[in-house]
């Protein structure tokens, strides 16, 4: 349009000068008149009116940016695809990472299963063991037993699967070199001493196993124990829990087992019927439960202790069990247990003894109570009083001690408590004699469970002999 070229094209600079009052009146009039005609100019003038800063510099900058754009025109088309494809890369990368993490988790959780399976596998050979020829089986066991005679620690390392599982059933005893196939069970038992340290762990394993397969386990144990009539099944009651169910089989190791093992050489060949469970409850005359009362089979000196509610159970191939039941402050009682539940044992109070031994019983109950210890120290789930009762009831003091030391001494044992309430990291703080120390450790290991208050809390228990 011709008029286009006629119109004086006011620049930003002109407008700027107009704003700053640098134009003459005539010039101002000119631009104003033009603005009236041209809304574009009018708008621009209005815009410049508000800014007030250096407009010329901005214009220069804009011109530069424009020339950049027009010179690099060809670059523009490529930018957009790059942006979108980059986003695609990001999305793809994230998906791969998530998928990778997912599969990892899956595999990790998957791996947990085989462990469980392995345990069961351990069981089956055990069960089958007795069904095999004893002759064949026994030597193997005997050999291994002998071989490990000297091995006092880490018996868990024993490679035979069945052996390991049976560990928990093995009674303790001295190794008997002259034991052959028949005494396979005893041989295993003989290793029990060294198994001491492992009894808890095995007990841990045995507990669930026993729940499922107690009859079979008991059966095999019975075979291997080599004893005619006994099964080294010891109920390990979990404090606080009412384990009326089939008992776990805990290895009991005392030197007296040796005696027991000597008595029945041909036992292995005797296959009795399947194990029987003897359950019952120990109470006083008023029907109050007696916690941690000791129930021992008189024949093989294998026993157990009742739980905090007085309930106990024993497994044996025999149809009747002759036991001694004792609890501090009460008269000992000998009686015969019948197969099945309902063996109610009532003990009579022994007033003559109570006064004398009362103080010695409360060895641990009367403990110093300074602030720090109380806060962090673990304590028995059923309390110190009951624990003291347990210790007194179930102590099997070594014979030699009785002859050597009169008046009795003490062993001090310290330990931490694991997550599951089991004593760990057991240390002898004050020793009395080797056998005493061992018995002390055994008592603690097999005793009622603990409750821990701090992760690294340590407690000291005194055991009187």
């Amino acid at each position: 349009m011709a008029s286009d070229s006629n119109i004086h094209k006011f620049t930003a600079e002109d407008i700027e000068r107009y704003q700053k009052g640098l134009l003459s009146s005539k010039e101002k009039h000119e631009i104003e008149k033009a603005a009236l005609e041209d809304p574009f100019l009018a708008d621009a003038m209005e815009g410049f009116n508000g800014s007030g800063v250096n407009i010329s510099a901005d214009i220069v900058e804009l011109k530069e940016r424009l020339s950049e754009k027009t010179e690099e025109a060809k670059v523009i088309p490529f930018k957009m695809p790059n942006r979108s494809s980059f986003n695609w890369w990001k999305i793809a990368a994230i998906l791969i990472l998530v998928a990778g993490a997912g599969t990892l988790l899956y595999y990790v959780s998957f791996n947990n299963k085989p462990a469980g399976i392995a345990q069961e596998k351990n069981n089956t050979p055990l069960v089958q063991q007795p069904t095999a020829q004893d002759k064949v089986a026994a030597p193997a066991i005997a050999d291994s037993a002998q071989a490990k005679k000297s091995n006092s620690s880490g018996l868990i390392e024993v490679d035979s699967v069945h052996y390991r599982v049976t560990d928990h059933a093995v009674a303790s005893g001295e190794p008997r070199p002259d034991l052959n196939s028949k005494a396979s069970g005893k041989a295993i038992e003989s290793q029990s001493k060294s198994l001491r340290s492992d009894s808890i762990t095995t007990a841990g394993i045995s507990a669930p196993i026993a729940d499922e397969k107690t009859p079979a386990v008991a059966l095999s144990q019975k075979e291997e124990s080599g004893k005619k009539d006994k099964v080294a099944t010891i109920n390990k009651p979990v404090a606080g829990e009412n384990r009326d169910g089939y008992s776990a089989n805990v290895l009991r190791e005392t030197e007296y087992k040796k005696r027991a093992s000597e008595t029945a050489p041909g036992a292995l060949y005797q296959r009795d019927a399947k194990a029987k469970i003897f359950r019952g409850k120990v109470t006083d005359l008023s029907n109050n439960p007696l916690p941690f009362a000791n129930i021992t089979n008189t024949r093989d000196d294998i026993g157990t202790y009742s739980d905090v509610q007085g309930n106990f159970s024993l497994v044996s191939p025999d149809s009747v069990l002759n036991v001694q039941v004792k609890s501090v402050g009460f008269s000992n009682r000998f009686l015969q247990l019948q197969n099945g539940p309902g063996n109610l044992v009532t003990l009579q109070e022994d007033r003559s003894l109570t006064a004398r031994i009362l103080d010695t019983v409360k060895r641990n109950t009367n403990r110093p109570k300074d602030g720090y210890m109380v806060l962090e120290e673990p304590e028995p789930v059923d309390g110190w009083v009951n624990y003291d009762v347990y210790l007194t009831n179930n102590l099997k003091a070594p014979d030699r001690l009785k002859t050597k030391i009169s008046g009795g001494g003490e062993v001090e044992v310290s330990f931490e408590v694991s997550k599951d309430g089991e004593p760990t990291n057991i240390k002898i703080e004050k020793s009395l004699c080797d056998a005493c120390d061992r018995e002390a450790i055994r008592l603690i290991r097999e005793g009622p469970k603990w409750k821990r208050k701090a992760r690294k809390g340590r407690t000291v228990v005194k055991i009187g002999f």
């Binding site: 286009d4 009039h29 815009g47 754009k69």
Partner: protein, 198 residues
Amino acid sequence: MSFLKNISPSSLTDKELVDQYKETGDLRLLGELYQRYMDLVYGVCLKYFKDQELAKDGVMQVFEELIGKLKKHEVGNFRGWLHQVAKNYCLMQLRTPKNLRTVEFKGELVQSEENVHLNGILEKEENFKRLEDCLGSLVAQQREAIRLFYLESKCYDEIVEITGQAWNQVRSFIQNGRRNLKLCMEKNEALSIDRKAG
């Protein structure tokens, strides 16, 4: 068209540049064209955004839009069309709620959007009489402002001095006066046509 390439783009008219751009898509042509009005686009953006950085970005964004739009649309008056594109862009940007601002609205100070070209009308001699009559019909302030501005070629500031009124008011008078004159002139023109006919 090869000879045109030798001629520097700056000597071409707007229309010629538009046509050439449409043909070749050469951004440099568009750039040349845009540079002529970049100042005004910047001003418009400043008016709407009231922010220098936003306005500068706006100028570049409008250019981006031109690249496509110019190819698509038939553009007669590039200048006017560009103005509209710039305004539309600014208004679209302002639509985001956070950008909305409430400003006092003074009706009498709003500038007229009419693209009124009075040049042709004023120059016609036969309209002078009509103009005199119409001027008389104006509100006193408007008449005075118009007279000072157009007939005495005074600028706003001068009129402000003379009349003692505010700058915005002066501008408003002039704009409204113009509109009223135009209406009056058109009405009179219609009447005179009728009279001539009748």
